[in-house]
Symmetry: C2
Subunit: 224 residues, 2 copies
């Protein structure tokens, strides 16, 4: 099983058993998430900005307007930390102290670089779209040259990454198991509702396949 090399900054100081370097697990978490939180430093101030992303093989892609302050800052090749977190449940213990959450998170360290080649840029935009909603790219109007120029795409290699996972029931102090307190997990998941048509859509337009068949991926979850 392929793993990421463990580095000082990806090594958990506490609860090391929650840290995992398995590449497949990291990819599963990245593929299930929608939003990453990008951390960087500008003028000595840390910023944490949410944005969409996609994974293609061993690279992460983000995109935005050519005018985006975040992208322009990242383009300078500074250190970046990208974190993706999936919340799976509330862990209700018998003591206040042992309450927790079930989650799966990934932290990626590295530097981003601009994707300048037209073909790689288009492939990345397609991946960003397909990651959000599979099948959508082929249903819609493709980007014009002007739109491509107005869009910045950045990529980051997945070389230094780690996952952190908590699953299962609460772990209480042994003497607390005798307390008459219900304990367990309230599972949480992100659920897609019925598609809502744009009010400007002609009456009777059929919902496209990408939206009508859309389901949140639950890959990689065997239990909460």
């Amino acid at each position: 099983m392929e793993t990421f090399a463990q580095t000082q900054r990806t090594t958990l100081k506490r609860l090391p058993k929650r840290g995992v370097f398995d590449r497949e697990l990291v990819y599963d978490i990245l593929d299930e998430g929608f939003i990453c939180h990008v951390g960087f430093v500008a003028e000595a101030q840390p910023f944490v900005i949410p944005t969409g992303y996609a994974r293609v093989a061993d690279h992460l892609y983000i995109h935005g307007s050519q005018a985006s302050r975040m992208l322009r800052t990242l383009e300078q090749g500074i250190d970046v930390c990208v974190t993706v977190t999936l919340l799976d449940g509330l862990v209700l213990a018998r003591s206040a102290f042992h309450h927790s959450m079930n989650y799966r998170s990934v932290v990626v360290f590295g530097q981003a670089t601009v994707v300048s080649g037209r073909e790689e840029k288009l492939a990345a935009l397609r991946a960003l779209s397909e990651h959000m909603i599979p099948g959508r790219w082929d249903e819609v109007r493709q980007p014009t040259e002007h739109e491509l120029k107005a869009t910045s795409v950045l990529t980051m290699p997945l070389t230094e990454a780690s996952a952190k996972v908590r699953t299962g029931p609460p772990i209480d102090d042994e003497e607390d198991y005798e307390l008459a307190v219900w304990a367990g997990v309230v599972p949480l998941r992100l659920v897609a509702g019925e598609p809502i048509a744009d009010p400007r859509l002609p009456h009777g337009t059929a919902v496209s396949d990408s939206a009508s068949k859309y389901q949140r991926g639950q890959r990689g979850i065997d239990s909460v």
Copy 2:
């Protein structure tokens, strides 16, 4: 309506109409979220770490083990950026270019300080618990002095904060509205499932009120 003072780092460079400084909206988003992403710099490296939090009046609280590397770093009074993001929907436009997401996010800048007083610490831990699942605190065994000492609680004033919100249908280029492409929004929300009992719970233990009546708050959402 009370607003946060707009500062250089909370001012959006692009799409300024998506930025809001209304204190009530910021509080609604913070109160609905579970996980914040804490950004800070340690040895010139940005870190983004997910963790639970609670808001009490105009302060944010986070907590963790006394041994937590993040908390020990934040205790030094360094600059912090705390971001909370709620994902409300996938915005499907007629063109690939205008795809987007509906979301509500809050960014808070400041420094954290340790909560050292026993009463404030206990009140903060209660708030952290009640924020996760209302009513739970009074059902469970309260913290011992040893547990209180093993827990660090940090607080951050909500003085420099802003929200960013996107709602509603896609905004397409005028000429694209004639395309025969379905467009609209796939709403997304975090949903709680049936509580799962701890396998070590005596058979027949009734699910506690906090868990059986638990519902994800949807405050502040009028539409997707």
